[in-house]
Symmetry: C2
Subunit: 135 residues, 2 copies
DNA sequence: CCTTGACCTTCCAGTTGCTGGAAGGAGCAG
DNA sequence: CTGCTCCTTCCAGCAACTGGAAGGTCAAGG
């Protein structure tokens, strides 16, 4: 199976597969006579695994760790769980950060009348301090 | 005021100020005899404005737009409000995406016993489909 | 046999928003 | 004069790809 087919089967662009190879996330694919990379069903499985882990937001490094655990018959499920929990904590941190931004922004928006007059509490909030509404 | 002082006053690294200048977010600073950039209180205000907008997650492009509106005495507050609302929508989209990841991930974690046995529903979930728990 | 088109190969550049470092000049204390 | 800190420039790199150029391969059609 050449790279285009593997890409379709795994649901990732061919370029991404080459990229994963270049950074060592996956091993170098075997080559055929003509120099084309050659993939089999097992390789596609790996690519699908990667795609799913990435879609859950795991950074590529963590995906590498997951792949190692995946191919290790001896691993403890606790190790995997721990990686996943770390990731949940990172997601929580990002969400908290975004929600804090959102809160500040909506406070400012609420105080802005939003018509064609030029005074605007949003810009004022950005130009002085961005403390919450001073009661 | 040279760049180091301005940086401290505005709460951004000097490198970042040069970077903002290089991408045209701020105008080229005036230079002194010795070639050093020279800043005044007004420049620091602008930098602080930028820092606050960035801390609210506005992408640099949007900060440029905000700066234009900020220095435009004629602008309508509705324009600013609209920019801010766009940004809130983007934040909401990101949060929704993160929460979806989180949900899938915690479902998998809950199904993983997390001990030293090698079977792990998390890896299984990643290697087959990542559908939600099949009831 | 030749051309067309789809595929593959490599490498380089760009994205976003900085950050680090090297190499060299400027300014001041001792 | 020697240090030390600051400033200048430019180059490289982070994540995680994505796009494009230049060129090789392969199967089909006229």
């Amino acid at each position: 199976m050449n790279i285009g087919k593997a890409a379709k089967a795994a649901g990732v662009p061919a370029k991404t597969i080459r990229y994963y190879e270049s950074i060592g996330l996956i091993g170098s694919a075997g080559r055929r006579e003509n120099g084309y990379r050659d993939y089999d069903a097992r390789d596609v499985e790996v690519l699908r695994f990667i795609a799913r882990a990435r879609s859950l937001g795991f950074p590529v490094r963590a995906v590498g760790d997951l792949l190692k655990l995946w191919s290790d018959r001896e691993r403890a499920s606790a190790d995997v769980r721990s990686l996943a929990q770390d990731h949940v904590r990172e997601i929580d941190a990002k969400v908290a950060e975004l929600m804090a931004m959102r809160r500040t922004l909506t406070d400012l928006i609420d105080r802005c009348h939003g018509d064609d007059r030029p005074d605007c509490p949003i810009l004022e909030g950005l130009s002085s301090c961005h403390a919450k509404a001073p009661a």
